[in-house]
Structures are given as structure tokens and as C-alpha cells.
């Protein structure tokens, strides 16, 4: 993930367990690592290493990295909305169908009615928001379980897709939309030689450096402010090490992309979404309320939190994000089809749970869900590179999902036993 949000950036997230040394904490020199927090990132790293070895490094080739990002972008966008819903203790089974219907609406607007693309995209997002509001109303204010409402939505919006499309694909999309979903930033500043790595795009490298500088500055300011309030912070060498590691990781990905065809636009969009939603989840009043509602609904009610309104708005948000994913998916295929988004909801839900969300709600991180989605993306990509049949890919993904949740339950049980 080459966004400027790193695991270290979100250490202040809600799941940090500062009390003593809970079980599942690993000591490595001066660094103490909480396995339950970091397990997902370690697992991701191991999977990347494994498939790099199995594919003789093909996994990390410039073009392949670009492919992984572009091919999974819509699932990752859905996972961002889904993790918020799961944190609040709900579920959304309808996102695949909403992806289809919003893609269809955007196609009809742009292709059939010739609406200018900026207006068409805006209208599509509004449609997504209205769909979310429809489901949010039944769930939050009418009191029907989200499982049922969104199961109904899965059918409803698939039916609506077929109606809108008249049972056929609609395309092609305007160039601007295709560039957003499939295209790359231009070589505004030309190329530069990187010795043995060959030529790379200067603009992309510059963006990468700016992202790193911004990340480091933000981390430094947070650290300084905490220290100013007398809170404990990482010692300076550890802090520098963490920031440097994140910087190297970002730069490695950016360099590989710069060697291929510059930065994919969806990556830029995704980075902005991850950054924005991470901040929303951790630092905004609204984000806090999502965790409060999922953590203990009754206590949230008795604390004066407007639970219904919180639940309503996270479904509206999910609708808008599904519309974003719908546009990108349709733009990538250059047509809106009746089967678009099939089973995307399952991938998004799996991403959230692999990424550390709890079934009971109250727990989860945006970056975790993104990592969960990338784990599945790398497995998909890596296994197809080594020529595994699709049934085996499915098998492995199923096992990974089960193992991830089993690991979470296991560490939680051990932590519980330790507290007693």
C-alpha cells in the first residue's frame, strides 16, 4: 500500500492495548510488537514474500504491482465502507448489486443521454447515497436487521440493474472516466535514469517524495504534541526507524510504478480515501460514535449518542462508496453489464474480517480492511501467475478467511484468560 497512511500512523487507533504486556506481544530488541494488532501486516508481508519466491519475482514486477492495485481497487473501496458498517455491528450484503446499478446508471446517463461526465458522476454518487439512505432507513429507523434489509437490497438492486440496462451491456464510456479507472498520470516532467533500474517518471517519484515528507511531518507533529501533553511516545531512534521503514516501503512501490507507466489514477483516489477515512474513523466525533455504537449499543444510547442517525449515515456512506466502485468497475470494463459486481459483497466482507474486524462489532480499522483486501488480491494474482486453477484460488481464500478469524478469536480468548 503506497498511500501516505501506514500502520504506524494509526497506532493511536482504538485497538491499542497499552495495559501491561498482554499475551500475544512479541519483543524484538527495543521494539515490542502486539501480534494481534500487527499480525495482519506480518501476514501480508509473509504472503508477499511467499508469492515473490513462487513466481521468481514476477509478483513485484512494475506492471504486476500496477495490475494488483487496479484490479482490486473497487473491492478496496467497498472494504472501506464495509469496515465502518461492521464496526457498528451491522453488515451489508447488497454492495455488489449497488455497484452494478450505479455503474448502469452512470452508463445510461453518459452513453444514452449524453450527460457531461462530471455531472453524470455526481448524479451517480447521489443515486448511491439515496440507495444507502433507503437501506439505512429500514435498518436504523424501522428496526429491521441489516442482514435482511441488505439481502433484500441485493435482489432489488440487481433487478433494478437489469431494468435500467434493458438486459444488455451499455458502453463505451467517455475517455475521462476510462482514464480514472484504468489510466495513469501523464509524464509531465519527463523521465530520469535510475541506473540499473532503467528510466522512471519524475512526476510519480516527486509525488512519492511529497507523500513521504507529508507523512513524516504529520507523524512528527503528532509526536511533538503528545510529548507536549506529557504522554509517553516512542523513543526517538524507534520513531525514526518506524518512519524510515514506512518511507522505504512507499518509495519502493512508487519507484516500481514509475518504471512502468506512472501512477494509476485509482491509486491516487484510493490513497486519498484511505487517508480521509482513517482520519474519520480515528479522529472525528462521527467516527468515535461508530465505535461506541458497535462496542456497546445500550451504553451508547445511555450516553446520549444518536444511534439511529449514526447507523443511517454509515449506510448512506456505503451507498456513495459503492457508487464510486461502480463507476470505476464499469469504466475499467468500458461498459456497464448486468452481472457487474457479482459477489463483490463477499470479497469486501472477507477483506474486513481478514483485516481484523470483530463479528460482534466495535473493532476494526480502515487500514486493516485495506490490508485484508490486498492479502486476497495478492493471493488471487500470485496464484494466477503460477497458473493455479480458480477452484484452488477459492479454496485458499476460504482457508485464509477462516484462519484469520480463528486467529483473532484465539488471541482474544488467551487475552481473556490472562486477565482472569
Amino acid at each position: 500500500m503506497s498511500s501516505s497512511t501506514t500502520p504506524a500512523d494509526l497506532e493511536a487507533g482504538p485497538r491499542r492495548d497499552a495495559k501491561g504486556e498482554p499475551p500475544g506481544r512479541l519483543k524484538l530488541g527495543g521494539l515490542s510488537i502486539n501480534i494481534r494488532q500487527s499480525g495482519i501486516y506480518i501476514a501480508f508481508a509473509l504472503i508477499v514474500v511467499l508469492f515473490s519466491a513462487l513466481t521468481d519475482g514476477a509478483l513485484l514486477q512494475p506492471q504486476n504491482i500496477s495490475n494488483i492495485v487496479v484490479q482490486n481497487s473497487y473491492i478496496l473501496i467497498l472494504a472501506i465502507g464495509m469496515i465502518l458498517i461492521i464496526i457498528a455491528g451491522h453488515i451489508d450484503l447488497s454492495v455488489g448489486s449497488v455497484v452494478a446499478v450505479t455503474g448502469a446508471v452512470s452508463a445510461v446517463l453518459m452513453v444514452n443521454y449524453g450527460v457531461p461526465w462530471p455531472l453524470a458522476l455526481l448524479l451517480t454518487l447521489v443515486v448511491g447515497g439515496l440507495i444507502g439512505a433507503w437501506q439505512g432507513y429500514w435498518i436504523a429507523y424501522f428496526g429491521i436487521p441489516s442482514f435482511i434489509v441488505t439481502l433484500a437490497g441485493m435482489l432489488l438492486f440487481r433487478a433494478l440493474t437489469l431494468t435500467v440496462l434493458g438486459n444488455q451491456g451499455i458502453g463505451p464510456f467517455p475517455d475521462a472516466v476510462r482514464t480514472l479507472s484504468n489510466g495513469f498520470t501523464d509524464s509531465y516532467l519527463g523521465n530520469v535514469g535510475l541506473g540499473p533500474l532503467g528510466g522512471a517518471d519524475v512526476f510519480s517519484l516527486l509525488i512519492g517524495l511529497i507523500a513521504i515528507a507529508g507523512m513524516a511531518a504529520a507523524q512528527w507533529r503528532t509526536r511533538a504534541a503528545r510529548a507536549g501533553y506529557g504522554q509517553s511516545v516512542d523513543p526517538l531512534p524507534v520513531f525514526v526507524l518506524k518512519v524510515a521503514a514506512a518511507a522505504v516501503l512507499i518509495m519502493a512501490v512508487v519507484v516500481q510504478l514509475a518504471r512502468f507507466r506512472n501512477l494509476p489514477w485509482v491509486l491516487v483516489l484510493l490513497a486519498l480515501l484511505v487517508l480521509g477515512y482513517s482520519l474519520l474513523a480515528n479522529r472525528s466525533v462521527f467516527g468515535r460514535r461508530i465505535y461506541a455504537v458497535g462496542g456497546n449499543l445500550q451504553a451508547a444510547v445511555l450516553s446520549g449518542i444518536k444511534v439511529k442517525s449514526v447507523v443511517f449515515w454509515i449506510f448512506v456512506n456505503m451507498g456513495v462508496l459503492a457508487a464510486v466502485a461502480g463507476i470505476i468497475f464499469a469504466g475499467r470494463l468500458n461498459q456497464a453489464g448486468p452481472t457487474a459486481g457479482n459477489s463483490f459483497e463477499l470479497d469486501a466482507i472477507a477483506a474486513a474480517f481478514i483485516g481484523g474486524a470483530a463479528v460482534q462489532g466495535g473493532v476494526g480499522k480502515v487500514v486493516g480492511a485495506i490490508t485484508g483486501g490486498l492479502i486476497m488480491g495478492v493471493i488471487n494474482n500470485g496464484m494466477s501467475l503460477i497458473g493455479s486453477p480458480s477452484e484452488r484460488v477459492m479454496l485458499v481464500k476460504g482457508i485464509v478467511l477462516l484462519a484469520a478469524v480463528a486467529f483473532d478469536v484465539w488471541t482474544k480468548r488467551r487475552a481473556g484468560a490472562g486477565a482472569r
Binding site: 492495548d17 497499552a18 495495559k19 503528545r226 504522554q231 472525528s284 465505535y291 451504553a299 450516553s303
Partner: protein, 509 residues
């Protein structure tokens, strides 16, 4: 030698850190109605759980002899096989099943693996006649009232060939008519030779129905009274239940009472599950600045219901009455309104209703007041940390940092987090529901000190507690609540445990 059906001898049951029962003995004669009396938390329910095998043999010390045999119950199934059936206060019926299905639940009338519905419904009908319930056995349990559901429970017990029937607060949720019918039924069962043990707070009922009474206090058997002696009065039972000294468990406090802050008038609340039953009836009370007011009442008297219905209508339906804040009538429709008006309510069940146990201390403390800690919707986390750390120090919350997860703290420290959360809303009125429940003695003293400080700061505090010594040691004035009605208001000087208990057990006129 009398014919005793049950002997419990030297029963001691300890939970981690608490000795719930200490050398308790109980003897019940065959074919009598035996009442067990004691304050909330005296150990009555624990004793009955030991008897019925909820706490299996080996998890307690002592001997149980039932019907002449030593009992080693491994679970409820064993005690039921021996003929002991317990009916809990919260009924254990499946509301969506029929009366007959409930009666034979776990004991289905089947032949060759298929349920014989004719036999089931016929036998259920006969059992219903025995308990005097005129309902069709195929009626859904959800469609009959609580009084009738209680009778279904008894019919279910009879279907198991019960010898000893234990009823835990059977009339707590019943109206007078249903209660009278139930008591008549128990007399009828006694005449059929079924022994009953009844736990009840309603002393008038006990005097009415019991043959003998065992009093338990602080996990110990105090005495057994024989009704045949004719000497037993409500006062006699009360003095047995409360006979305990007030020692130095309370910090000294000099009240400085100011003007009225909150007045509640004619407050009536109906039960959400039975909208025709009044849980609180025309209650009126007044809270003043700097004053600690107690609200005493037995379980089911409507204390929590009163508090929660005032606190943003978080309990009850059909609520009527008026609330005045500083002399001005206010309408509190939800919790947000209550918080804005400076009213705080710390729940009696902090784990279920008070805290987000998987979240850390600072986020629990800030949860009600995020508006104060944020600008344009963004939380100032450093300020949040500073505020929470201030509470950690001033309230002496024992945790390494405010980033500790609340679920891992002790009960006393959790309660301090709840109090911090509400104190940070800067309320004028604090309603503290069982503020020291499940907390050890040392932490209790700290909580009392905090309550005194709040009063000194000019806040009005309403303390709801089951522990009379606590109310007597802490409060400047005490209201008593009985069956939803305010039955007394005693200033500290006039209040004694006996007088409070008298008002708390006062029946409806």
C-alpha cells in the same frame, strides 16, 4: 422428631473474593410452606441455586439431604429428577410456544420418536385445571399475562412430579388479584402434600401464607420463626433482617443544602412489556443543591425504572407527570435533552449499560462529551488524553494509563470511570444507581468520598441503593419506594433501618 423433607447443613459457598454463604442451615418440614427472608444480597438466591444444582455438588461445602438421601446434584436435571423444581423470578418460558409445549419442554410426550400432540394437550389441560388456569393449552404463552405465565410455570413443575417447589419472588411482577390467586394455589398444593419454599420481599404475604420463616442476613442463617407461635409480626421479621450495626464505613460529611434543582411531580410509568401495569405510580420527589438524597426500595419497587424514565425516557411507556429544573418545567424526550439540562444517570449495571468494555479509559470518559473536546467535528485527542488523565489522578483510577482497556479493570475502577464520564458532563443533578454494587469495601469508601465532594460542589445527588446502611450513612434525606409509590420521606435524623424497611414493604392501600 418431625418429618423433615429437606436438611441443608453448614452450606458455605464462596465466589472469588466474596463469601456469599457461610455455614447456612435450613430445615424444611414435609408439606409446609417455608419462607426465606432477607435483604437484597443476603444470599437467598445463592442458597436456592445450591439446592437446585445450579451450583453443582463440589462447588460448595456442606451437606444437603433431601427425602432422606444425601444429594450430589451435578445440575438442574439431577435436582429435578429428585423432585426439586425452582421457578425463577424471570420466568423461563418460550413466549412463541404454546402453553402445552412449554409445560412439556424437555419432557416431550412422544411415542416412537414422534410427539403425541393429543396426549400432550390433554395432559396439559389437566395440569392447567389443577392450577386453576382457564386457558386453552394451544394458546401461545406470549398472549397470556405474567400472572398466568406464573401458573404455567407451576403446571410445568407439577408435570415433573414435584415434591419440593421453590418460588423466587413469585409475586414481584403480579398485581394484587393475581398474587392472591397464586397464594391460594400454593395453599392448595400444600394440602396435596407438595412442600413449598418461597422467597419474597412482601412480608404481608409471607405472614399470610408461611408456616415457618428462615431469616438470612449477610450469608448466614439468623433464625427460624414458627408461625404457629402466633408471635411473629412484620416488625419482628424486619428486625431479624436488618439487625446489623452501622460501623465507621462512611466518610464524615457536613451537608450544605441550597435551593431546589430538580422536582418531579406525579410521575407515572408503565411497563413496556405489560402496558397496563404501572411500574411507577404518581411519584413526586425534590432534589436540592448540595444535598445527597437516597431512594430506598426492594427489588422490583421501581427505583431504576423511575430514574431511567426521567433520564430521557430510556425506560417505560405511557409516561406522564412533570419535571421542573430550577423551577422551570422541562420536557426531557431523550438522553441528549437530559445531558443538556445537566442531568446525569450512572446505571446500576455498568457492564451492560454503562461502559464500552472493549474501549480504553479515555474514550469511555469522553463518550458523552465529545462535543466539548472537538472542533468542527474533529476530536482533539491530546486534550481528551489530558482530561482523562486528570480524572485518572483525581478519582484514583488504578490503571497504568488512560489507554488501558476498561474491561480489564476491577469493579471499583470501572465505577470510577463511569462516574468520571458523567462528572465531565458537568451536571447539576447526578442519579447514581447502585453506585457501589460489586465493589470491595476500600473502593466503596472512595466512592462515598467522591459523592460527598460532588455535593460540596453544589450538585444534587440521588443515590439509589439496596443497602440500607449505605443510604443511612451517606444521605441527608431518604425517600422510600414500594410497588412504584413513594411511601415515605425521612430526614437523616429520623431514618433507621427498621423505619425504612417498614415503609419499603408498605402495601398498596
Amino acid at each position: 422428631m418431625t418429618d423433615d423433607i429437606l436438611h441443608m447443613r453448614g452450606i458455605t459457598k464462596t465466589f472469588p473474593g466474596v463469601r456469599a454463604l457461610h455455614e447456612v442451615s435450613l430445615s424444611v418440614r414435609r408439606g409446609e410452606i417455608h419462607a426465606i427472608c432477607g435483604e437484597n444480597g443476603a444470599g437467598k438466591s445463592t442458597l436456592m441455586k445450591v439446592l437446585s444444582g445450579v451450583y453443582p455438588f463440589g462447588s460448595y461445602e456442606g451437606r444437603i439431604e433431601f427425602d432422606g438421601e444425601l444429594c450430589r446434584f451435578g445440575g438442574i436435571k439431577d435436582s429435578e429428577d429428585a423432585g426439586i423444581v425452582i421457578i425463577h423470578q424471570e420466568l423461563a418460558l418460550c413466549p412463541q410456544l404454546s402453553i402445552a409445549e412449554n409445560i412439556f419442554l424437555g419432557n416431550e410426550q412422544a411415542s416412537r420418536g414422534l410427539i403425541d400432540w393429543n396426549r400432550t394437550n390433554h395432559q396439559a389441560g389437566e395440569l392447567l385445571r389443577r392450577v386453576g388456569l382457564e386457558e386453552n393449552p394451544v394458546t401461545q404463552v406470549a398472549d397470556i399475562g405474567v400472572g398466568k405465565q406464573q401458573l404455567v410455570e407451576i403446571a410445568k413443575a407439577l408435570s415433573k412430579k414435584v415434591k419440593l417447589l421453590i418460588l423466587d419472588e413469585p409475586t414481584a411482577a403480579l398485581n394484587d388479584q393475581d398474587s392472591a390467586h397464586l397464594l391460594d394455589l400454593l395453599r392448595g398444593l400444600r394440602d396435596e402434600g407438595i412442600t413449598c419454599v418461597i422467597i419474597s420481599h412482601k412480608l404481608n404475604e409471607i405472614i399470610d401464607i408461611a408456616d415457618s420463616i428462615t431469616i438470612i442476613r449477610d450469608g448466614q442463617t439468623i433464625e427460624t420463626l414458627e408461625m404457629a407461635s402466633g408471635q411473629v409480626t412484620e416488625d419482628r421479621i424486619i428486625s431479624g433482617m436488618v439487625g446489623r450495626d452501622l460501623d465507621n464505613r462512611f466518610p464524615p460529611h457536613e451537608p450544605n443544602v441550597g435551593e431546589e434543582v430538580l422536582r418531579i411531580e406525579d410521575w407515572t410509568v408503565h411497563s413496556p412489556s405489560q402496558p397496563d401495569r404501572q411500574v411507577v405510580s404518581r411519584a413526586s420527589l425534590t432534589l436540592r443543591r448540595g444535598e445527597i438524597v437516597g431512594l430506598a426500595g426492594l427489588m422490583g419497587a421501581g427505583r431504576t425504572e423511575l430514574a431511567m424514565s426521567v433520564f430521557g425516557r430510556t425506560y417505560g411507556v405511557g409516561i406522564s407527570g412533570r419535571v421542573y429544573k430550577e423551577g422551570r418545567e422541562v420536557h426531557i424526550r431523550n438522553v441528549q435533552d437530559a445531558v443538556k439540562l445537566g442531568i446525569a444517570y450512572a446505571t446500576e449495571d455498568r457492564k451492560r449499560y454503562g461502559l464500552n468494555l472493549i474501549e480504553d479509559i479515555k474514550r469511555n470518559i469522553s463518550s458523552v462529551s465529545l462535543g466539548r473536546l472537538s472542533r468542527n467535528g474533529w476530536v482533539n485527542e491530546n486534550e481528551e488524553y489530558r482530561v482523562a488523565d486528570g480524572f485518572r489522578r483525581s478519582m484514583n483510577i488504578k490503571a497504568p494509563s488512560v489507554q488501558s482497556v476498561v474491561g480489564k479493570l476491577s469493579g471499583g475502577n470501572q465505577q470510577k470511570v463511569v462516574l468520571s464520564k458523567w462528572i465531565y458532563t458537568d451536571p447539576d443533578v447526578l442519579i447514581l444507581d447502585e453506585p457501589t454494587r460489586g465493589i470491595d469495601v476500600g473502593a466503596k469508601y472512595e466512592i462515598y468520598t467522591i459523592i460527598n465532594q460532588l455535593a460540596d460542589e453544589g450538585k444534587a445527588v440521588l443515590v439509589i441503593s439496596s443497602e440500607l446502611p449505605e443510604l443511612l450513612g451517606l444521605c441527608d434525606r431518604i425517600y422510600t419506594l414500594s410497588q412504584g409509590r413513594i411511601t415515605g420521606e425521612l430526614p437523616r435524623e429520623e431514618a433507621t433501618q427498621e423505619r425504612l424497611m417498614y415503609h419499603m414493604t408498605m402495601g398498596q392501600e
